[in-house]
Amino acid sequence: MAIREILKLPDERLKQVSAPVERFDADLLLAIADLEETRQAGPAAVGIAAPQVGWFERVVIVDVSTKKGVPNHGHLILVNPEIEHWEGFDMGREGCLSVPDYTGNVIRATRIRLTACTPQGKPLAFEMDGFEARAVQHELDHLDGLLFIDRVVSRRTDLFQRKVYAGKGRSGGGKPDANRRGDAGGA
């Protein structure tokens, strides 16, 4: 096992789309072990995606079980993950191992349905919400060459309050996109 170097902005390789895993073999397990060791070595990351260590296959690790009071499915190794359904939206603050010393507010779906494979190629399916769903969306973005900074919204764009209206005609199912405000004005 080895701690691998984390690619950091503005490394162009972070924008690359990763390829599906096709060989579920011993090399895959070794690479996953490195990925986990690299995650553990960093600053309290709840997830890591393969491309962050220069490995451009669709593998992520997510573990939010260390956060107090956060519903979770434990330590997850997700190979070829796909989000099949999105619901609701909420804003939350995110940072990234690949973007040191910066955090920003990002809109994510509050509830997702997810399929993936285990490292042995067995199918997995999850329904998850809240912080865990956010972590999965953050990591899956890496597989498509996206960073959270591609989705950051103005700190003044406060959507927290909209929770109050939850359940009243919220859009469901669509992939949430960053809510870019188009205020007219000068400057």
């Binding site: 603050r93 000068g186 400057a187």
Partner: protein, 168 residues
Amino acid sequence: MLTLVGEDRPGIVARVTGTLTEAGCNLGEASMIRLGGNFTIMLMVTGGSSPAELEATLAPVAVDLGLRLHIDPVTGGGHQHLIPNIQVRVMGADRAGIVSAVTSALARSGFNILELESDVAGDADSPVYIMNIQGCSEATVEALRESVAGLKGQGIAVDISPIETLIG
């Protein structure tokens, strides 16, 4: 630290930053926002010339754009971010003393404000003051809620919630 304030119009940021770049300055962290029809800039600048030379360079541009210019030598720099762990949302019928009442209560609990933005919503007859604060606090959410509990009777709604920053 540069402060520039003046009536809003298109092109202020482009002109100011262009002038700074030509003068060999590096731009750092900045807050630029329209407040009440004015455009306000607070901008960290390093490199280039002395504060006096910088002022001489920028002054004609400021005059041209109708901006007031102020330059303070400061010691701070980049990479000193703190990550907020508490969000405070405040809403109440607009009247004098809301900000002071809320922030005094928070300050007594050792709350450090990192960011505060506020706006007056509603209409001219019944304005509503809305304020969002993000900051760092070692006191618990419960302790902070307790500290502002007395404001409810004064018609000020204060909602305090944790910010769980996701690092992934």
